[in-house]
Amino acid sequence: MIPELGHYALVLALAVALAQSVIPLVGASRSLPSWIAVARPAAIAQFGFVAYAFIALMISYVISDFSVINVAENSHTQKPMLYKVTGLWGNHEGSLVLWVLMLAGFGAAVAVFGGNLPPTLRARVLAVQAAIGVGFYLFILLTSNPFARLLPPPLEGRGLNPLLQDPGLAFHPPFLYAGYVGFSMAFSFAVAALIEGRVDPAWARWVRPWTLAAWCALTVGIALGSWWAYYELGWGGWWFWDPVENASFMPWLLGTALLHTAIVVEKRDALKSWTILLALLTFALSLLGTFLVRSGVLTSVHAFATDPERGVFILAFLVLVVGSSLVLYAIRAPSLKTGGLFQPISREGALILNNLLLATACATVFVGTMYPLFLDAVAETKVSVGAPYFNATFGPLMVPLIATMAIGPLLPWKRGDLGGALGRLKIAFAVTAAVALATLYFAWGGPVLAVFGMALAAWLIVGAAVEFADRIRLGRAPAAESWRRALSLPRASWGMSIAHAGMGLVVMGIVATSAWEQERLLIMKPGDRAALAGYDVTFLGTETIRGPNYMAARGRYEVSRAGAFIARMEPEQRSYPTPPMQTSEAAIRPRPDADIYIAIGEPAESGGWATRLYHKPLVHWIWFGSFVMVAGGLVSLTDRRHRVGAPARQRARAPAPSAQAAE
């Protein structure tokens, strides 16, 4: 009964979404307050129905109701409860239910917390959000119904891919989807603004919190996925430029650009047309990612079981949503009035440079990802674009971006003095030079680019600190005043400094691990010793163990340095029965200076075991830095200005909000 009710709830959600996408929109353009007022309760009702459907599916997973096909195909009685629950979104149909849950959830949040939005804008935003929902509900109900039944039910489920039975990967989709769907809010705001024909600083102030929240979630999602790959896949890789990884990275790049231009719209009432376009394209890339994962158009480790018929539906949806929004943009954008003017050398100018580089980087990743498809369609030639292409093109684009990240915040609005800004960064220059020399000394003989990369990252971190110190007049005013200034500094400033510093940490981690990682591939017999970056690794042998749903060979390795015992590390080679699969569970010793990473593989005929030893300097800084970036974003999110501000004051000044609706 419960699955049927869940199914029906989805149908009801579709009905509500249909109404919500039409009535408030008509009401807003015809100034019908009662029609406008449909938006909020509809959004809340829609969320209620979707939440019910989600819970219904969740119950089916928790009780292992194998009469539901989706549960039978993706779950198993022997799975730990946590993974039964998270298995809901580890497959195509279930993940779509998660998607619409978030979509409806964000819509309901705007309905509940968007009290300070003008009713017409809010109505239009919710209408666009509902229109997106209609597409997804139709997709689910017509092609990917998670509540389809199988009678008679099988006695046992077909199990979940053992690779997905993992905390990191279990929580990676919710964060990722929160990011994608969060950007749909920016999209809805942008379309609503285009329909209204007006973009003003107040609009930017409303859009920023949603975009920032989405950006934080997406950063966490990508970082979790990367970290999972590192400890799960057995050879310590953490980014592969896989098409589906790129599909999540592209919205992140544009989303970062959007966050920064929204500041210009908010502070200076400029760059409106470009900001709107960014909002449209960021979500377009999210939808494109959905298409790439589920249509079978590109090969990838991540792709769900693919089906071209589903691909046709998603493509049609993509064309409809993105196409119509871009047509609207072509028609309406030219009439957006330009605002504040500024010189090329200014904070606005620096933010334009930031956007230029981020957009170019995103476009480059896009070209690299889509080129095999493009060439096959046009010239019937198969070419493969792997990591070497992206490393060669993306890296160089990041260099000027990071370099200017330290300078930009020091420039004032409208017109800035580059010499002055650079002058204030003298300390940063000095520290950067010191870091470069230190790197050269300690890593003599390594790649030259590594020295440059570490110096660049140091430049960014110290630059962020210098900017912060400058703002609180550290050293130029009494300590008490600096302290007072620091406490009263807007949270957004704190957030910026923290986030930029976090980025610097990420760059350091990437440079260090890419440049100075050491790898040793050996066949080791019990008693063999190997040297790894100054450590000695001794192989003691293996034992066979049995886990909850697998059998494994566990290797025992002892790590020592100059005779002193450091650690016992025990990687495993696991064999799962359903579906039949072998995985390698590496043993990792994470430390701030470097990780020691050991993976055990196949036994060799000679009696030894295939062993991979890695020494990875600073690799955990990558994810630590990412979380610092997210912390900065969250701090920024709690800025008072996002809740109090012009919108509230405008409402106090304009006693009749319906007067605004008469546009």
């Binding site: 158009v297 090969t299 943009y329 072509a330 954008a333 095999p372 498809l373 096959d376």
Partner: protein
């Protein structure tokens, strides 16, 4: 309307077309690098239980033939096997086998159970000859003309539609060009 604001929709339109075409393509199918090139030189011993092995000189004997890469551990091979049996029975085209990375007893047992359509079958135990052919999965089928040139490579099991629309026309064309 300014150029700058029309550009996004124009680019998107092109992208949508490319994606639409992409849905009809198969990204896992890698075209052969050996089309219109001679078969690699090889000389394989017979599969256990069969009298005749397979060598490159057999493919240059003047007759168009199919070279079918198969293995006893290959599930998809069983699906296409009735078609190959039919081809062998009706003698529409000669069918030779390349037994890829198989144990002799396994291959022999498999042919006994599922039928043996191969005039000649070579045992490629190490898989080196397969690599020389550019084999990356099983089953694959090559159409070789009388002069030992590869004219077509079919990846995956042969479906009746593939036979009628791709393989037999290629055979006919190769025969006509002799």
């Amino acid at each position: 309307m300014r150029l700058g604001t029309v550009l996004p929709i124009a680019i998107f339109a092109a992208l949508a077309v490319a994606l639409g075409v992409g849905l009809t393509l198969n990204p896992r199918e890698i075209p052969s690098a050996l089309i219109d090139k001679p078969v690699p030189e090889f000389d394989l011993p017979p599969v256990a239980g069969k009298p005749l092995g397979l060598a490159s000189r057999d493919l240059k004997a003047g007759e168009v033939a199919l070279v079918n890469v198969f293995a006893s551990w290959c599930v998809a091979c069983r699906e296409e096997h009735p078609l190959l049996m039919e081809l062998a029975r009706t003698k529409r085209v000669a069918v030779h086998g390349l037994n890829y990375k198989d144990a002799p007893s396994d291959a022999q047992r498999w042919l006994a159970e599922w039928g043996d359509p191969y005039a000649r079958a070579g045992a490629d135990r190490s898989g080196r000859v397969g690599i020389d052919f550019g084999v990356y999965g099983v089953p694959e089928t090559f159409v070789v003309d009388g002069h030992g040139r590869i004219v077509l490579k079919h990846i995956g099991p042969i479906m009746p539609a593939d036979l009628e629309t791709k393989i037999l026309p290629a055979v006919a064309k190769a025969r006509a060009q002799r």
